[in-house]
Subunit: 406 residues, 2 copies
Amino acid sequence: MASIDQALPLGFRWASVRAGIKASGRPDVAVAVADKPAAAAAMFTSNQVKAAPLQVDAEHLRATGGYVRAVLVNAGNANCATGAQGLAAARESCTQLATCLGVAAEEVFPSSTGIIGVPLPVDKLTAALPGAVAGLSDSSDAAEAFATAIMTTDTRVKIAQSEVSVGHRPVRIFGCCKGAGMIGPQLIPHATMLVYLFTDLQASPAELQTMLATAVETSFHSISVDGDTSTNDTVLLFASGASGVIYDQAQIGEQQAFRDALGHVCDTLAHAIIDDGEGVTHVVRLLVSGADDDVAAKRVARSVANSPLCKTAWSSADPNWGRILAAAGYAGVRFDPAQVSIHIGGLPVFERGARSAAIDEAAVHRRMLDREYEIAIDLGTGPGVCRFLACDLTVEYVHINADYST
Amino acid sequence: MASIDQALPLGFRWASVRAGIKASGRPDVAVAVADKPAAAAAMFTSNQVKAAPLQVDAEHLRATGGYVRAVLVNAGNANCATGAQGLAAARESCTQLATCLGVAAEEVFPSSTGIIGVPLPVDKLTAALPGAVAGLSDSSDAAEAFATAIMTTDTRVKIAQSEVSVGHRPVRIFGCCKGAGMIGPQLIPHATMLVYLFTDLQASPAELQTMLATAVETSFHSISVDGDTSTNDTVLLFASGASGVIYDQAQIGEQQAFRDALGHVCDTLAHAIIDDGEGVTHVVRLLVSGADDDVAAKRVARSVANSPLCKTAWSSADPNWGRILAAAGYAGVRFDPAQVSIHIGGLPVFERGARSAAIDEAAVHRRMLDREYEIAIDLGTGPGVCRFLACDLTVEYVHINADYST
């Protein structure tokens, strides 16, 4: 289990409480508060169906010009596809937390994850808020409690940290997330990714948005468990400024060091999501090169990552490069099969359009028994490159997601 | 098991033989011959990786202007990703069959299905051709033998027939196909769809191409087992003209009747492929309506049909409309969730943006225990409609495709 072993960013406090929304009775409401209004940048699911809190988040960020005082997360109910009632519930929970904190309701950023289509038990949620506020702390235990309360069927807490020096002063990043999961098997569940990134850098919402978009592209936008894009996916970057380090007054190299650190935190969290994916027994690092451009490379990677035939082959360490080639071929990207080469775990299986003369299937199979390995697909056409994290499809995935009883 | 119970189109003969390409020793080479050069139209996979016979088919159709004398299919080896050697093998097999028949090599239309990436044992194939030619017959048994020899792991033969009257004369259609399957589990297999449609109508290659494209759009382009587009998919429509009925001299209504019959044959075969899909226990008829246009409706249908979360829910008759809504939402199509309604098996589950007040989950679950049922998704926006055949994702699918041992 990950634990917090570096200094946390200054200017934040965290807490969690049991509101009785999760059937398990575990902590299910998480609150994070900035001492002063903190600059924020957020990215939301591209799904046409967006949960109620995501709609409220967008309204609130517009109203405040990108400043947030508090994050309010509940697990156990996604508050999605709940109509006007769901929107009202999300707004009510913000109002109640804002009252407890003495801030404006628009300064609260709500999130929900869990059952879809079931009304949010807003009374339970709001009844728990005074206790959460009373428990706010800047301790490691409090931050870890926040990261734990947002979990649904995640089997482990997902945390990443980094610290960089800017003008000889430390700037810290603390990130946590939850991966795909299922709860309430007799109801209507849905997996959701929630990511919260805290830093004590001082930066504007626009600066944060730019750096967040870059970091997300190569981390959370480059992973797939099953290709099912959630209705609730949210990534929030939240900067208290309490380090005293002002981003736009830092040296170019130090700005880059901060962005690299943010990227590292996002990469670590994205890897943790795949590694803890439903039923996953193998993590596959896809490296697609030689595409016309990076966008084309990512299309090929995503096609391979979501191919049921590739994913089932990986589950049994089957060196089935034909399925990889075929999935690349239907990605909607132009390439010449005669120029394609594929390596699995560093071993050649397909070279320039034909089975590798040096192929050793037994050796490739042994390499694929590792928990994690790389599959490199060189299209041999252009400069486009993509790294993407994929995983296998197992019987356990089907069991987890098909477990329904009347 | 389907059997041939109507008159076959005139002007064709069929045969099959054992060439020893299938490890099982079952018949694995199928030949169909037209008495005279027959107008043909073909459609091939859009996969960037196309098997060698598909490349030869395209060359041959260009060389003859769309006329074919013989179809040569082998099962047990896909002759895909086999480089220059694979192209030479496909050409050699055409030359040998052409010699046996006394026709030009360009008049032969080759197909292969089975293991990908392994050299085609062309000597075995060509050695079997004289026996196949000697066995050619216009009998029902011969046509059924053709349909049987093209199978790989299909559990049943897939045949459809129709007959329409044009100018008081009968015109017949006989179609057969093979669905997804896996063979040679220690090698590199790949599923492939092959469809052959025979008719004794007289029509030009261009007329056939137009009617084939229309029929394929609503049949083979509107199904998915796992979303994995093969490297070998082929649909061939092959018209001997032996009925004496000339398409462009028929009445408009009778032309339409023929196209309807062709569509019916294609629909029947497409349904047979899904019904015999790997590990399938439920066939789901998706009806998407209210999209901006038919293209948008099909994108939504395909997204739902390929969603692992929807497919696993269907395997356990789980009335999980949230997953259906979410999969529609990430199809890349614009719609307003507040206007969406979903019915499962005719029962309301989601109406205009919220859970149906009349929902009866137990009743919906019971309806979903049927082998086949409909899910209707009304986006409530525009006139676009699509019907699409989907299926569930079961543990058996994973077992079939993950069954690898060193």
